[in-house]
């Protein structure tokens, strides 16, 4: 540690860190457009330029190492002028349609133009116009709004190792595109939406289902049911200025009913159901010498990734549908029968932290007899928009519960929202299925946290020790899969989440993916687990009931029909 001077103030700095990092710790704001916390600086946008005493030119704070005794001015006249000019030049080739843009009020370019006091147009010139790419079921691209910061390209390559998009062409014609300018649907994109999370403008967005959902709600013939994923209740508050990680489940239920949803269910119920099926599948494979390691199937981005990059693992992946799809299947069967409703009148909406869930809902495997299990998927961000559209807020809303029969959950179903949660939940139930007893310590601390790959060994009985691994972020998934390919055989069960940290950091979540936010969300879920009375999926009374009344037992004929699915190698995509 040594001292540097920033804006006539002494602050502490560590050798090897950048000016931006030192300033952030000291709460000194420097604007950025292309910087991603935790990743190597790219220095593309030049928004973070600062002045160093004794140096001729401005330097980018994101890429400039601190030196002892250096004197920095973050907001000198020159720095401000340079930043403002940069923004004006970006605006010169940007469509002037802020009022019609999904990011209006939430756009980094717009915010900086405002902050830097851009009030008149100084640069006029040709503007690039590109076609919208709406080919994918999950993500829409509008390259006209792209400012070429490159964050999406880097996240896609460095975090997810998917490489669906890249800079193409050169100079004024340079843009971010897919191979051969094909639609995203023909690229290797897995629809994780991490690119959307980092996009500073409206160039990348989720494909909106808001219109369809509101039309269904306003249709008196339709019974509109909602399910919300485990992580939503601890993230949506951020869209309304609430504390990071605040659990607003009851308030959200209240809001959903006021919007007009006829029934509100929790996806944590079907997460418990997934655990019953998946744990049974694991136990069966272990006992009968089936294909191991078993790999989880909840994360649809991972499923597409596996289908195109690791098709050899198709048999390893659990045949269980994801909680979203299981819920969809039982809503239009068990629930419809129970309530005497024509399943074709049900409009089933899921609220998900995920853009890939939109793709999953549209998979033909999930529409037996032409009737989709799920009709529409709203991301967390879209739900916030729907709440606002209906003149509602989360600050002044009565707390309400879920509807039966899918309203009860264990906390095991709740921690599905974080990396390691599915594994922890599965281990709790698999242990019970094998031994008939309950695990003494249900908390598996070694597979909690933000690490990319986590492992644990669980001693089930004298003969059996189960090895488990948890990977989040597809780059980390590759690591563990490559080890298995090379012959590693001490792992029985692998959980893969597409997004780093799991669903709490999903592509549909509120923007901003700094580690502090993700940790707060993660902590909130584990806190719920710690204080909950029912912490094991098999102890969820509604789960017992659905097996008694409808499904018989895990892996029954009926379960296989409704709750399990198949995968296929994808040769059509350009990888």
């Amino acid at each position: 540690m040594f001292k540097i001077e920033v804006n006539n103030r002494e602050i502490k700095a560590k050798s090897g860190e950048t000016i931006l990092q030192a300033c952030k710790r000291a709460d000194i704001y420097i604007p950025t457009l292309c910087h991603i916390e935790g990743m190597e600086p790219s220095g593309a946008c030049r928004m973070c330029v600062v002045e160093i005493e004794g140096r001729g030119g401005l330097v980018p704070a994101c890429a400039w190492p601190v030196e002892e005794g250096m004197k920095v001015k973050t907001h000198s006249a020159r720095a401000l002028r340079a930043r403002k000019t940069n923004i004006e030049l970006l605006l010169a080739d940007h469509p002037d349609d802020c009022l019609y843009c999904v990011r209006n009020g939430d756009c980094e370019l717009q915010t900086l133009a405002e902050k830097l006091g851009v009030r008149q147009r100084r640069y006029f010139g040709e503007k690039n116009e590109y076609d919208l790419d709406t080919s994918s079921p999950a993500i829409s691209r509008d390259p006209s709004k792209c400012i070429l910061c490159g964050k999406c390209v880097r996240v896609c390559e460095e975090v997810q190792t998917v490489d669906a998009i890249e800079f193409v062409n050169r100079g004024f014609k340079a843009t971010v595109g897919t191979a051969y300018d094909e639609g995203l649907n023909l690229s290797s994109c897995v629809y994780c939406g991490q690119c959307v999370r980092v996009c500073p403008t409206g160039a990348l967005r989720e494909k909106s289902h808001i219109k369809e959902v509101m039309e269904a709600i306003h249709d008196p013939e339709k019974i509109v049911v909602a399910q919300h994923a485990p992580s939503i209740s601890v993230t949506i508050g951020e869209e309304f200025g609430l504390r990071k990680g605040k659990d607003v489940v009851g308030i959200m239920n209240g809001a959903l009913r006021r919007i007009g949803f006829d029934k509100v269910f929790t996806t944590s119920f079907s997460a418990d159901l997934t655990i019953m099926e998946e744990a049974a599948e694991l136990v069966e494979r272990v006992k009968t010498g089936g294909k191991l390691p078993l790999i989880t199937s909840c994360s649809p981005g991972w499923i597409k990734f596996m289908e195109q990059f690791y098709p050899d693992f198709i048999e390893n992946v659990s045949s269980c549908k994801s909680p979203q799809q299981m819920m969809g299947a039982v809503i239009k069967t068990y629930f419809a029968e129970k309530e005497g409703i024509d399943p074709d009148k049900i409009y089933s909406v899921s609220i998900m932290p995920c853009t890939a869930k939109k793709f999953e809902a549209e998979r033909p495997e999930h529409a037996k007899q032409g009737r989709p299990d799920i009709d529409a998927v709203l991301t967390t961000r879209e739900l916030a928009r729907v709440i606002k559209l209906n003149g509602l807020d989360l600050h002044d809303m009565p707390v309400e519960g879920h509807d039966t029969p899918f309203g009860e959950r264990s906390s095991a179903g709740k921690i599905f929202g974080t990396s390691g949660g599915v594994m922890e939940a599965a281990v709790r139930t698999a242990y019970h299925m094998i031994t008939g007893e309950e695990l003494d310590a249900p908390e598996l601390k070694s597979i909690r946290g933000m690490e990319g790959v986590k492992e644990a060994k669980i001693k089930v009985n004298e003969e059996l020790e189960i090895g488990v691994a948890v990977a989040s972020g597809l780059k980390n998934a590759r690591k563990i899969l490559d080890q298995i390919k090379e012959g590693r055989d001490d792992i029985h069960f692998i959980e893969v989440m597409t997004c780093p940290g799991g669903c709490i950091n999903g592509g549909g979540q509120p923007l901003g993916m700094d580690e502090e936010t993700i940790k707060a969300r993660m902590k909130a879920l584990y806190k719920i687990d710690k204080t909950d009375k029912v912490r094991r999926s098999h102890q969820n009374k509604s789960i017992r009931k659905i097996y008694e009344e409808f499904l018989e037992k895990p892996l029954s004929q009926k379960s296989h029909e409704l709750l399990h699915t198949t995968y296929k190698e994808r040769k059509e995509v350009l990888i």
């Binding site: 890249e166 193409v168 062409n169 191979a179 051969y180 290797s188």
Partner: protein
């Protein structure tokens, strides 16, 4: 894709730094960079197709459509520029309804912009299938194209 394999044989144990020479050789062999060829190059060099496409589109020399029966190269070197090659190019674009790097739908013509072809004394110069046409004026473009169209018809 034997022709692509033939190129790979020239580059045993190639790494990503061999990408551009391989692209050049494949284009030489096949005439353009097809999707299938780029996919194979990706497999060979362990590079995603998006990356290869990104690199290839950075350079003017690579094309992604098959050449036409008649490949027209318009010189945009200094001397030809002074003698009006910009208008000439515009005229070809309009007549053929394609941009440089593209091929007409009927597959007869393809267009390419090249830097100086060393025929400055003949400016503005173009080549059609390698044959140099000297001092081409914009108002001659239509006849020139019709002449070659006719030839294709007669040969058909």
């Amino acid at each position: 894709m034997e022709r692509v394999q033939k190129v790979f044989d020239k580059y045993p144990d190639a790494k990503r730094d061999a990408l551009i020479p391989i692209l050049q050789d494949v284009q030489e062999e096949v005439g353009f960079l097809s999707k299938d060829a780029v996919k194979e190059i990706g497999n060979y060099l362990k590079l995603p197709t998006s990356k290869i496409y990104g690199v290839a589109t950075f350079y003017n020399q690579f094309r992604f459509e098959a050449l036409g029966n008649y490949h027209i190269q318009i010189c945009r070197g200094t001397a030809c520029h002074v003698k009006g090659s910009a208008q000439l190019l515009e005229e070809f674009q309009r007549e053929l309804n394609i941009m440089p790097g593209e091929t007409t739908r009927d597959g007869v013509f393809s267009l390419e912009v090249v830097a100086c072809i060393g025929a400055c004394g003949l400016a503005p110069a173009i080549t059609i299938n390698g044959k140099v046409h000297a001092k081409v004026q914009p108002d001659e473009v239509k006849d020139l194209i019709n002449k070659y169209r006719q030839e294709v018809k007669e040969n058909a």
